[in-house]
Amino acid sequence: MTVDDEMEIMGQRLNRKIRALFGRSLSIREVDAGSCNACEVEVNALANPVYDMERFGIHIVASPRHADMLLVTGPVTRNMELALLKTANATPEPKLVVAMGSCACNGGIFGETYASGGGVDRFMPVDVYIPGCPPRPQAVIFGLMVAVDKLEQKIKKSEVKV
């Protein structure tokens, strides 16, 4: 099997998974917790005609209450901490938290200061890390695929509990 074939299968799997799990759509709420704006530019790029993530049924939604996934960027600043926690609380379970970009993963170049928190996982459990400064759009799509995989596991787990 060539690399191309493998990738083709992967893409189809993503499509199928999103359809089976979410009824054709994955809703994402993006939260900027103090990033430099580069990650936002890349998330916006996902909506441009070149990457067009809507073709996989992935949408950016306006409210956390409509979201399956929180996509968090930035090192979590002191001034954004409360807003981030409120947004996370407003997102229905089972939810996914994805840390996008090196700042969100562990603080990146900002590290920990009086005003910078040093990564999203200091404040809430993170399901998937997408490193990159910022990650290129393809890397974000790959990260979303990993996240969908994780959500499948999460849903199965919560079903067992019931």
Binding site: D4, M7, E8, N106, C133, R136, Q138, A139, M145, V146
Partner: protein, 112 residues
Amino acid sequence: MFDILIKTLRTGRVTSKYPIRQDIAPEGFRGKPELLPDKCTFCGECARVCPPGVIWLTKEKGEEKLTLSFCGCIFCGMCEEVCPGGAIRLSQEYELASKTKDDLLTIIRRSV
């Protein structure tokens, strides 16, 4: 109105096939840093210059260990630039997302 139609048709389809098809990052892309264990002299120069401080050189129990976490890596390539033996280089790999932070570590060891 016709102008819009003409421009749309002339532009055609621009959507990339990723992830259905692989998308190889261009040459010179600043991707995942790779360590080449046989070239590394464990001098620690990379750890010294790393701006976010995600390279550590540690010594314990007669073993030297170089750990690189690309979790907080900013892909600046300073490590590549200063490495005297060419043991570290930025690759074209960018599909780095992972469910755990441990998967984002690269470790090489040697006994002393």
